[in-house]
């Protein structure tokens, strides 16, 4: 009687263990994938905040930096360009252009002591630098998340449960952004 029972318990237990493992990996892959999506949207949040702050900066700077119309124009243009983008690649490029334009403005601001002394400008600069850092950190977390997800679905045993999911793409910094900003003093 007892022996018969063992024949039942053993396979059922084994099946339960296998089912538990399968559920764990399927869920884990889903969770990691969601984290990657969330990490991507975190970058978006910061980019949007920067986008919203740019007009403020332009307004503040205009009065002081009359000789730097070109540089200010560049910022406004980069911002406008972002509204028209459709593909991810275009967007990354437009974001890069805006980053460059902002860097130029802040570098040029060094020549305008009155502007630098303005409380409003200092706050804006602090805010935008903070956002710039946050964008970098958000990208770092995004890439970390992608690494974790890709590791999971390309190594055994995770790869058995990947269900044809492709590895996610890393956020690569566009070519132009790698070079330090060019600043010309007239």
């Amino acid at each position: 009687m007892k022996k018969d029972l063992w024949w039942l318990i053993l396979p059922v237990g084994l099946i339960l263990i296998v089912v538990a493992i399968v559920i764990y990996y399927i869920n884990r892959i889903r969770v990691l994938s969601n984290i990657v999506d969330n990490a991507w949207s975190q970058i978006d949040v910061q980019l949007k905040r920067r986008f919203d702050l740019v007009p403020n900066l332009v307004e503040t700077v205009k009065g002081y930096m009359e000789h730097e119309r070109e540089a200010i124009e560049l910022v406004t243009k980069a911002r406008e360009r972002m509204m028209g983008v459709t593909t991810t690649k275009e967007r990354i490029e437009a974001e890069g252009a805006l980053t460059q334009a902002l860097k130029t403005i802040f570098a040029l601001a060094e020549n305008y002591p009155q502007l630098k002394a303005s409380e409003n400008f200092r706050l804006l600069q602090e805010q935008l630098e903070g956002i710039e850092n946050k964008i970098a950190y958000a990208r770092q977390f995004y890439n970390d998340s992608v690494l974790r997800f890709n590791n999971m679905i390309t190594t055994i045993p995770g790869s058995f449960f990947a269900g044809g999911r492709a590895p996610r793409e890393y956020f690569e910094i566009p070519e132009g952004e790698r070079a330090p900003p060019r600043v010309t003093f007239k």
Binding site: L123, E126, Q127, G130, I131, N133, K134, A136, D144, N151
Partner: protein, 301 residues
């Protein structure tokens, strides 16, 4: 790879939290039982029953509101206002890098250079820094310190630390009560003996041993666990900022500047970035590893 080991670390921390709570809870019950046997022999089981309910509620409440109590006790104020824009940006940015929601941010008016994180989990957490830290450190150094504190939050160290603070405090109070009462407790024993009750002496001796050793045992657990976590948080901080030198030079400056007079209770000293009381810098009883050692490890990364 390192991320996976962090995941393991969180599971381990959770397990350790439960184990430690259980262990200290037993010590607390033993203390209560001995106190009851000495002062109310015959009613000890009833006393223990009520006491365990009371202790349970106490632990739950302090666990729930411990961070608020700590923030109030250290006189921490919310970091609103324009002078803290950089601090807020740093905390928010590094939270993004750590993948946790941004914690609440507080500031303590003090010339000492220190910081702490507290709360239950990443959703209910806060980071506090002293104004001295903001004044005396450069930006990448502050980033290193904040990264360290955020790592405590991400690794669930804060939950463990809050629990430890609560329990260490409770054991200390009960042991203190017991030791104090021995002065007139001796008279009490004589009276009970005259009533013909045996075993009073045994419990008295037991109580004496417990009162002396319980706080020490609990503190040793606290030291051992919290020191290991400091190293881990240093490493995680570098993982976030990708700049070991920032944290290393922050530690160096703190070592030179701090005088160790922040007036913080020993029960919560393990929550801080560096030990707030210099008397506790002694190697055995320190809740933090020696700063020189931390700097050496960071510089070798």
């Amino acid at each position: 790879m390192s991320k996976i080991s962090f995941h393991d670390q969180m599971t381990k921390n959770r397990r350790q939290s439960i184990l430690l709570s259980f262990f200290v809870f037993l010590i607390l019950l033993a203390l209560v039982y001995v106190i009851a046997e000495i002062f109310a022999p015959g009613y000890s089981l009833i006393v223990v029953g009520f006491a365990s309910i009371f202790i349970g509620i106490y632990i739950l409440m302090t666990y729930r509101y411990g961070d608020q109590i700590l923030l109030t006790a250290t006189n921490a104020k919310p970091a609103t206002g324009n002078e803290y824009v950089f601090l807020r940006n740093t905390v928010e940015g590094l939270s993004l890098a750590a993948g946790i929601p941004s914690p609440e941010i507080y500031v303590i008016e003090s010339d000492e250079l220190n910081a702490f994180a507290t709360g239950r989990d990443p959703e209910n957490a806060s980071v506090t820094v002293t104004t001295g830290l903001l004044k005396n450190l450069k930006r990448d150094e502050i980033e290193g310190v904040i990264g360290h504190e955020l790592s405590h939050i991400r690794n669930y160290d804060i939950r463990f630390a809050t629990l430890v603070a609560v329990m260490v405090g409770l054991v200390a109070i009960l042991s203190h009560m017991l030791l104090r009462s021995f002065r007139w407790g001796v008279r009490g024993r004589r009276r009970s003996k005259s009533r013909g009750r045996d075993g009073g002496g045994l419990f008295l001796a037991l109580g004496f041993v417990l009162a002396i050793f319980a706080p020490i045992i609990v503190r040793i657990v606290q030291f051992a666990v919290s020191r290991r976590r400091e190293y881990l948080a240093d490493a995680s901080s570098v993982e976030l900022t990708r700049y070991p030198e920032g944290l290393a030079s922050a530690l160096e400056k703190i070592m030179q500047t701090n005088k160790g007079k922040m007036n913080v209770s020993e029960a919560v000293s393990h929550l801080f970035f560096v030990d707030p009381n210099k008397s506790a810098l002694d190697a055995v009883y320190a809740t933090h590893p020696p700063i020189e050692q931390r700097i050496r490890i960071l510089r070798s990364m």
